[in-house]
Amino acid sequence: MRLLRWESWCAIIAFLMTLAFVLFPGPYEMAIFTFLAQPLFAIAAASYLVKVFADLRTRKVV
């Protein structure tokens, strides 16, 4: 499987935003979690799944 470096960093930033909202709830933290952290998680997960699928294809599993 290829490296998952930028996906991991995306997820780390999103985790930090989520943690800020969980510990210090407020409208701005909520907006950052909703409009930035969730899409970052989704992008990281989508890219990860694409790489997993590509890896499985190279191994001729799918």
Partner: protein, 228 residues
């Protein structure tokens, strides 16, 4: 021991986020192609080849932990808006929250609060059909409100776009002795149920008027003081 939802959110939210960050750092530093010669990794009762362990770590870091964190944070969003302090965290709602807790106020909301007609989550009890507390469409509107509030693309005083549904009042009042004893409730029943007539027509202002909530008005500074 009585554990509140907030304590659970703090606990599980922190666990998911911290664990997620640690696993992500590990995944970012992993070179998947060069793990063939690495020694097996011991996981509690079993030993896994290094490559399999790294792939499991990546799955947990990028799928499992984010799913957990997103679930907890969204639960926090939708549960937090039930509380008066949750509504009052946007300064636009402060006039309503301050007036609600003002024992000298005669508004319908303040009367419900000081007489303890609603024991807790007072905002949510009357406004459960729109914003983050409502159905899917209402939640989407809630997200639009959040976006407009945080980008300062709104104008004061805030005006409700939706018509208040009498069902919110009738949920508690319908069928009570006091309600049934009032003849006008029966004569106006069809119009009350169809929302052609709203309860406020007879029962007065629910919150401070838009004039009181206008910046520069004599009441504005008092009504927008941060909650204690």
């Amino acid at each position: 021991m009585n554990i509140s939802y907030l304590q659970l959110v703090y606990l599980f939210g922190t666990i998911f986020c911290i664990l997620g960050i640690v696993l992500c750092i590990r995944t970012a530093r992993t070179r998947f192609g060069k793990l063939g010669d690495a020694p097996p990794v011991s996981l509690w009762i079993t030993r896994l080849p290094a490559e399999s362990a790294a792939k499991l770590t990546a799955f947990a870091a990028l799928i499992l932990m984010p799913a957990g964190a997103i679930f907890i944070a969204n639960y926090h969003t939708f549960e937090g808006v039930h509380e008066v302090s949750g509504c009052a965290s946007c300064h636009l709602m402060l006039p309503m929250a301050n007036d609600l807790q003002d024992s000298n106020s005669g508004t319908l909301a303040a009367r419900h609060f000081k007489n303890k007609w609603i024991a807790e989550n007072q905002c949510y009890h009357c406004h459960s059909d729109y914003g983050f507390g409502g159905n899917l469409e209402a939640k989407m509107t809630g997200y639009r409100h959040l976006a407009r509030y945080t980008t300062h693309t709104y104008k004061e005083p805030l005006m409700a776009r939706v018509r208040f549904d009498n069902k919110n009042c009738l949920n508690c009042h319908q069928g009570t002795q006091k309600f049934e004893a009032v003849p006008s409730h029966h004569t106006a029943w069809a119009r009350l149920v169809s929302n052609q007539m709203i309860c406020l027509n007879c029962h007065g202002q629910a919150h401070p008027t838009s004039l009181q909530r206008t910046p520069g008005s004599p009441d504005y500074a008092r009504l927008t003081e941060p909650l204690e």
